[in-house]
Subunit: 272 residues, 6 copies
């Protein structure tokens, strides 16, 4: 049977999630271009490797030309110095969107983050339309790309899903992740849903598994057709035995962004 796409590009393909996506999305496209700053050695037959910095607009354009869709998971994955955020996440994502526009790409699935809305409280019960409240420069860069994605849809008709991933790790190592976890398999499900949903315009969605506790309202999962299948109950006993209970008054307990709200400014001496 025909695949959904002739060719897709995955950025950040050497990263923690990028590796999962290479496997999980393989069945969707005849060709998968895998891009990262480092070389990927274990290429599958249907994969083609691209090594470049996202800030290199020409290299980005070369990798983008000819693909149907982009899964953009590249860029700095954590709070870091402004210069890095600026180059990798802001300029880099602009380069992706601009190349996509120039070459007629149909859809971009972007790894946004809970840290775009990290200063909202668990008790605020927000949905995806709540105003942004980033908890880090990293989070601010995610807000920038979400605004850019909306602009490219409204003006140029390039569809985007901005997936605000909470915490995607092999398993939850601490108590906050008992509610903020996104399993690798659910992450792949979410990206696949975002790639294949019939019409999404520019849709923001939260990236979470079906955990027992869920402090946000996942209004847009229906539009994407995302149905998580995993949850953290398998790990509860282990985590609760190993990690003491959180102080409910601590900012890291009260806000969606967790310990990111406690981070100092990344350019401060103190944080080096």
């Amino acid at each position: 049977m025909a695949k959904d796409f002739n060719s897709i590009l995955i950025t950040g393909a050497a990263g923690r999630l990028g590796t999962q996506l290479r496997n999980g999305l393989a069945h969707l496209a005849s060709e998968v271009r895998v891009a990262d700053r480092v070389e990927i050695s274990d290429l599958a037959p249907h994969e083609q490797d691209f090594v470049f910095d996202l800030a290199d607009a020409k290299a980005v354009e070369y990798a983008v030309k000819g693909v149907d869709a982009i899964v953009h998971f590249g860029g700095a994955p954590l709070e870091t110095a402004w210069k890095t955020i600026l180059a990798s996440n802001i300029e880099g994502s602009y380069n992706i969107y601009e190349a996509a526009r120039r070459h007629g790409v149909k859809r971009v699935v972007y790894a946004s983050s809970v840290h775009a809305i990290g200063y909202h409280k668990l008790t605020d019960n927000i949905d995806e339309a709540a105003p942004v409240r980033p908890d880090s420069l990293y989070g601010v860069s995610k807000c920038f790309v979400e605004a850019l994605a909306q602009f490219y849809w409204d003006k140029f008709g390039l569809e985007s899903a901005c997936l605000r991933i909470f915490s995607s790790f092999p398993e939850p190592p601490e108590r906050r992740m008992l509610w903020s976890w996104l399993s690798f398999d659910d992450c792949v499900r979410l990206v696949e849903a975002a790639l294949t949903a019939p019409h999404i315009g520019c849709t923001i969605a939260f990236g979470l598994s079906d955990n027992k506790v869920c402090p946000v309202d996942n209004t847009n999962w229906g539009r994407l057709g995302y149905h998580p299948r995993d949850n953290t109950e398998f790990a509860r006993q282990k985590v609760e035995a190993a990690v003491p209970r959180l102080d409910p008054h601590a900012p890291a307990s009260q806000h969606l962004g967790g310990w990111f709200v406690d981070l100092p400014h990344p350019d401060d001496e103190a944080s080096k």
Copy 2:
């Protein structure tokens, strides 16, 4: 055990959905009156046949007198000439409601339609309280009946469920219906829930199965107690192989009403 109703009336009983409802609702009532413009030949013992045009107020009254509830699925089922819409859907539905009031009917379950809100976008994520945006004269007539139903509840205490059915067919033949489909069995479940829920006042609900993608918010299913059991995954592979992907920029892709938004005015020469 006693049935829920002594007698119910199904209009449009010879139609695609009417036929399903005759079977599916049989267990609810001792007598089922089946009404349509055409005669129904395969009557069951508990069924009584009525043949008339909905615009014939006297005939409507004759069929309504003595029933406990009405399942009003009759009328023009698609966009058509204004004169037909006016007679069948507007006058016809008025006749139903007025006869129901005069004869003490307790509840009407009305086949409204997605086309009452067809100009909302998939990305609007509407619920049932969103303002109407009909996509056709057919849809405008559905808005009329919904307003009429609200009036008959508020003033005369006649309860109504207005079910905005999306696409109810044996199986989904095209890509839009992968999200807009309502299986026949779920259609029967929805009507049964609407007939038997303890108190509904005038409730609007969307008529959809539990499909993977769902671009609306089904706030009122809880009040009716409707729990769909079917979905379109059984047909996905076949549909996606047979039908090319939709252009996400096409109005028919972006709006809930689908291809209805592309229809010309039914009274234009061009559309004849």
Copy 3:
């Protein structure tokens, strides 16, 4: 200086408000067509008379052809028999919209009514986006035309303002009208604003003066640029002296529609 319009049509021009509009809107158009079921004898030089029933589609089309905008205040102005509502308000308004579409009219200003939302309570504090709750068949017909207006905007680009007029009389004769009154001058201001606002799509607005008590939220006045200048304080002493206080528990006191909520069905024997 050039007028805003070459030609406009006012329906219901012989009525209470129509008469006001003939005077008040005269400066906006070089030609004003005045239409009613009865002949208008005191024509001004810029006025042209049309006598017809709104249910007469051909006569409507003849009057509409060539105008830039329509001020549609014709039709039954109160609760009355269904047959009249159907012919004058439903068919009649359809004829207006359909003629407007066929002949490229740019905008329709429609006299909708508080009775489209008469079953909302004063304490509900509704705005224009609240679901309709008509208090009469008359109100149901207003809901029909509002839905029709939205449809003609969404599909055919014909702009409409649906003005839900509360109580427009020379002065307020009773206590409810101390808050529900729309002065004749403000009525003219509202229609003029609706005719001349730069872009309105299909806008619903409440028709009220700047009265001391105002139980609704006039969100859309800004879009139209309507600024009422009158209020009922001039009449308060007289009204309060003449009319006893309302029972706050009476349905007519609690609902926006006032005594319309107490009306029987217009087709009942009892109401004849």
Copy 4:
């Protein structure tokens, strides 16, 4: 494995729900203090008995000192004389909160009630943030405690879950309870979720099982991690055979509070 709590206090422990909670929560704490106005004879080894009136501040303080969390289900469980409501529910709950604050208790789980919002209609589809509309003095006292709980969180950092329990009985004996029922097991699940959720601030949640019909929006269940497992379908046939259908126009049918809206004032002669 270590228990979640060293010590918890259950008030109203001799009551219908208190008895269930003694069993259901036993695994959570090394010590469970069980308090009521009457002595409890069947103490388990991990249980310690306290007998007092909630209005006795000293006795409350003695029972509270040393516990980690309080499950406050004590007080008058139904509409009753104001003096009782005042002493047991208002003063009594104040005593609980004040003792909790003085002795560093981390969290209170409070048995609020549907009767705090009993005058909302089934068709209002409210969520937990809707304004209170109590249907009884009993309900007013629940509103008082919810406000108190919010205050103790905002000012003193004492977390609370206010569980608006609908109808928690062994099985549903009448038609309203087919939608308003909370099974004993789900009640225990809800309290356990409220005790163990990572961060709740002051959270209001509805106490309902997963019944077929659900006329409210359970936005906050996600934050608590409550997932009901029971429903009333097992009892439907029996109840529907035994109890006639409700009149949909009866206030008791239309409002969430059910027959509480028909109660007279408890201090009236007529009600004695």
Copy 5:
């Protein structure tokens, strides 16, 4: 000309606002009963004095019997010991409402307070429907009375206006009051509007003058017909010269309740 009321009762009539109301409302009623815990010496001819504690139900009933409306401004006006709050504000207000019900009083205008919602932030932009967040036991007692008022409307048809007065003093002595001030004249206007509006059910409204800065949304002023005429600009220069700027990070700057959020618990040793 006839007065609006035969007789009204003002509680707290010897207090700061009570004194203003005696003057300001004199024109509304033939008889004004003025009640307080202390005797009032300067009675006007139309005034009748009542001296009692609000906790004395019989005395309250005696004062209430025969009045048309009650302006209930009595009770503890500030944070104070729980026993006082309980007796004066909770029991006392219950006594007022219960006497009003027994003797057919039509409407109560109640002095609620900003301290019922003092923990909301200025940046929250709340309206009157926001959930309560009291900042003091005093504020909790205001929440209790608001719930009670809603109950007496819903069940017994006794109308209430709950006026959440911010800061009503002769002039603003500090910077917060530049936005939170309610002039004495506007206070009288607000109470008069609440007494004379045609239908109010149970309406909550904020008590503020027309100050330059206003951090809340006064949705319900329209329903009452309240139009403030004063503002604090006359005092700005003096206040800003005398009082240093507030620290924007201080809780007292960020919350509607101002310095109430910094108060200790009134029953703590530290606060005595």
Copy 6:
């Protein structure tokens, strides 16, 4: 009398609005630092000149050190090449915020723009909390700074007002500006209100005069204490005579951003 501020910095001080602000805000501060890329020749005695590019972090820091507040109106004022947007608006604004944080500045008033929300429709009636929908790369950069401002408030307690200025010119030259105009005097009033309001956290507000037509909801003006005094009626006759009516179906008519929605991508060949 003492001034509000010892020292403030105005960026973009040589620009159209910067020139107005130099005059209009002079009374607020003992020292006004005026910064731009070009030298300002007509310095007043209280003014100090700084010439630098915003992308020069060191120069920015030098100008910021020692001021109490910053009025940040510098950067590219229109759609332009990405490289310019990136350097002037993104890096430049980051430099301002970061210098403000390092040197204890209390508040930043930022010239955001309607183009951050330009793809919303006039008929959407948005308020300031609506999700961003930028109509240009310029608009995307405004979204970035708004997110940055929120972050610096939430994490570092630096207050910001983000003023989404619509069209601030000496007078309105075209029809759209009849509703989108912000007079120079009102612009100064808005900035002064934003500088002097008691507590603003991070507040977004629309920059508009009190024009007859207003298609947005100015919820946050109250928090800032902004009261516009000008409107466009003085220019209506001239503009309407000179400029033909807009096509209501044109995207530039339907969207808040006006002709910005028609702009091509600034980096396209076609747009050079």
